[in-house]
């Protein structure tokens, strides 16, 4: 049995964290490396960088951010955003990423998943799916930040991706994203029941109770969250403390008493 993972996500543009950060004790606000170090300290089981840079120069900056983070953070590191080719995979893995996530490029060219899996192993290939409910129990894959309906059925796409070599699915509910009303449990059930690879839930969490509900009511393996951690509403460790008390298996930090004053 593996522990349920709590994964903070950092949106990075031109080498800077986009959303406001409220961390205490951070030397440079907005530095993705510093933010990743802080999340590691809080007990993050993995860290995700989502590169939302549009320009070519910005891409090089991201590789640099990954390299610096890997020198300072010793938990798995996933990088996504704008990945289009096996070469992009290679560049980020060499810089120190452990996994790379792809979204629209895989929709356009599903073979990218198999090419990357053959070359680097499926453990490092994460398929990100942004989905919306279009009819009760029916979900479509959207791209371009939820603006374009690809017409693809999300469940079928997830199954196909698994066959092609994706090692994990990062599922974002566009319906729940930004609402802070909780994860989209129905959508997660639909995907978790259809694939044998781990599913990371994303979108909608606003309270620690939402994490509890997610792991008590679905088979999701991990939860990804951005703003709830960015704005300092909750620390990763606070979420894990609550899960741990509810008997949900999580990785607790050995230093928890000393550093957080929690018994």
């Amino acid at each position: 049995m593996s522990a349920k993972r709590i994964i903070p996500c950092l949106d990075v543009k031109n080498g800077r964290v986009v959303k406001g950060i409220n961390f205490v004790g951070i030397r440079e606000v907005g530095d993705p490396v510093e933010c990743a170090i802080e999340y590691d300290r809080q007990g993050a089981d993995e860290i995700v960088f989502l590169d939302i840079t549009a320009t070519h120069e910005g891409r090089g900056t991201m590789v640099d951010v990954v390299r610096k983070t890997a020198q300072n953070v010793f938990v798995p590191l996933t990088v996504g955003g704008g990945i289009r080719s096996v070469e992009d995979f290679r560049e980020l893995l060499l810089a120190g990423a452990d996994k790379v996530s792809v979204n629209s490029a895989a929709v356009q060219r599903p073979e990218l998943l198999s090419e990357a899996a053959t070359r680097f192993g499926n453990q490092c290939v994460v398929l990100a799916i942004d989905a919306k409910m279009i009819a009760p129990g029916q979900y479509h894959v959207f791209v371009n930040g939820g603006r374009i309906d690809t017409g693809l059925d999300a469940v079928e796409w997830a199954k196909k991706a698994e066959r092609l070599g994706a090692g994990e699915i990062l599922l974002t509910s566009m319906d729940a994203d930004g609402t802070r009303n909780g994860f989209d449990l129905a959508m997660l059930d639909a995907i978790c029941d259809s694939v044998g690879i781990p599913v990371i839930a994303s979108g909608g969490c606003g309270t620690v109770g939402h994490f509890v509900k997610l792991f008590e009511e679905t088979k999701a393996d991990a939860a990804l969250a951005a703003s709830i951690f960015h704005y300092g509403d909750l620390t990763v460790n606070q979420v894990k403390e609550t899960l741990w008390r509810r008997k949900i298996p999580v990785r607790m930090l050995e230093i928890k008493e000393a550093e957080y004053g929690i018994v």
Partner: protein, 199 residues
Amino acid sequence: MIAIIDYGAGNLFSVKNALDHLEFESIITSNPLEIHAADKLILPGVGAFPDAMRLLKETTLDELICEEAKTKPLLGICLGMQMLFERSFEFTETKGLGLIPGEVRAIEAPGLKIPNIGWSELFLENECPLSEGINEGDMVYYVHSYQAVTDKKYISLYSEYGGLVPGLVFRDNVFGTQFHPEKSGKVGLHMLKNFGEMK
């Protein structure tokens, strides 16, 4: 000086980053002279067993590693740990380095996801120099589809995934971790520190 053996497979920089962070001198190398001059060896590895063994044989690093392991601490990580055993059944039966008795077989975990990717608890079987300061219940990060099958006397720490999964194995000065200590937070760094401080 710790030599991280480069035989053309796997991400060696993660291990190097962790050693740098712990302030142990290390070098990524495939040069036999540098490997011989080092006082400790790390054999990393990600990928498939037959390919990795073929690469070791082609470069005759297999013989060198076995020779060097007689006198200095050796740590195999993930696939590098699996190669310490006598043979593996990944794809086809392939001979390993044979430094620890036992073999490598597919994980048997009906109903569980394969590969096993994620954090699992450690349990103690036997103390060894690398397990010093590690507590039962500490978690480490695994990424694997195959696992070692060996006598309990060679197991220091194990996890459970379907059945028993050897996490840290040892025989004399040869050690192996199925999990990635360089990606296992403070617990993993602690084990690498134990290794780095060995005399």
